[in-house]
């Protein structure tokens, strides 16, 4: 692949990236390729040294902020015609509530997902507090000489503590999995915006 072909491929692969950002990145890669060639590398080797296109796209998707990509994505490629502006203004009572609703659905899904995680943590916390409470109660019963009730409360303490410890690891794992998957969803969305597949 020649340098020109590489830069063209980069442009084609990233239509969703703001033009100024794309220009700056292209100039950076171009300079790197030229510096390598100046050192005696062949053009093909110098291009190959920049790394696979897929890696470059993945890297850009991970670091460019989502807001920037969305702005670029919704920006019209040409100026609006008069009738389009009129339609946008007249349709305002329709499209604005729809937009807000769509945003609210996404937000509520996200909140619901984390609410599940929080409720699991609440169970862990209540088990721990309950266990501690029954331990205190067991001590109190011991003072009054109620041995059977003391044994029962101690049993409750052990059961609650055991469950809390087991659930703690489960919750920690669940939190990590959900955090990782929401992050990868955002990166996937960004990749789609960059490549304009969406």
């Amino acid at each position: 692949m020649t340098k020109t072909e590489f830069l063209e491929a980069l442009r084609t692969a990233l239509p969703g990236l703001p033009p100024a950002e794309l220009e700056e990145r292209s100039a950076f890669y171009s300079e790197m390729i030229e510096d390598r060639m100046e050192e005696g590398m062949t053009e093909a080797d110098a291009v190959a040294a920049v790394g696979p296109m897929e890696d470059i796209i993945a890297h850009i998707a991970a670091e460019v902020p989502l807001g920037k990509l969305v702005r670029q994505s919704v920006k019209p490629s040409r100026d609006f015609r008069t009738w389009e502006i009129a339609l946008l203004v007249l349709g305002f009572p329709v499209w604005l509530p729809l937009l807000i609703a769509a945003f609210a659905v996404v937000l509520s899904l996200y909140i619901a997902l984390w609410a599940v995680v929080i409720s699991f943590w609440a169970v862990v916390l209540s088990l721990a507090v309950g266990g501690l409470g029954s331990l205190v109660a067991a001590a109190a019963q011991l003072v009054t000489g109620e041995l059977r009730q003391t044994a029962f409360l101690l049993g409750l303490t052990l059961a609650a503590a055991g469950l809390a410890i087991l659930m703690f690891f489960g919750c920690a794992w669940l939190t990590k999995v959900i955090a990782r998957s929401t992050k990868s969803l955002v990166v996937q969305l960004k990749t789609r915006l960059i490549r304009k597949e969406a």
């Binding site: 990145r25 950076f28 300079e31 790197m32 510096d35 100046e38 920049v50 470059i56 890297h59 670091e63």
Partner: protein, 108 residues
């Protein structure tokens, strides 16, 4: 390695590569290569971040009939290197403490 720690380390590495004289992208990569291997994309991100934080400045100069960007360290960038050295001495002290404990266990 922890992402934040690695990011901080790489920032200082790039600053160290330009601390004596201003340098350009490919030379920074080459100078760092014996110690840290970076991809072009990663270097681009770091340089942009350092520029935004005013730790380095960028100027363009002509070289062999084309334009090349040169990166120059700022006083703020030099301070970052110094801060890193102080921090690192503290980390080293903790590291020595941790490994000393292990050595004692090994002897037991």
């Amino acid at each position: 390695m922890d992402v934040q720690l690695k990011r901080g380390l790489l920032d200082v590495c790039v600053l160290a590569a330009i601390k004596n004289e201003s340098s350009y992208g490919y030379r920074i990569l080459k100078d760092m290569k014996p110690y840290v291997v970076l991809s072009e994309s990663t270097l681009y991100t770091i340089l942009k971040r350092l520029e935004a934080g005013k730790l380095l400045t960028v100027h363009t100069a002509e070289h062999n009939g084309r334009l090349r960007k040169y990166y120059e360290i700022t006083p703020r960038g030099r301070r970052r290197i110094e801060e890193f050295q102080t921090d690192w001495n503290e980390i080293l002290a903790v590291y020595r403490f941790i490994t000393r404990e292990e050595e004692q266990h090994d002897e037991d």
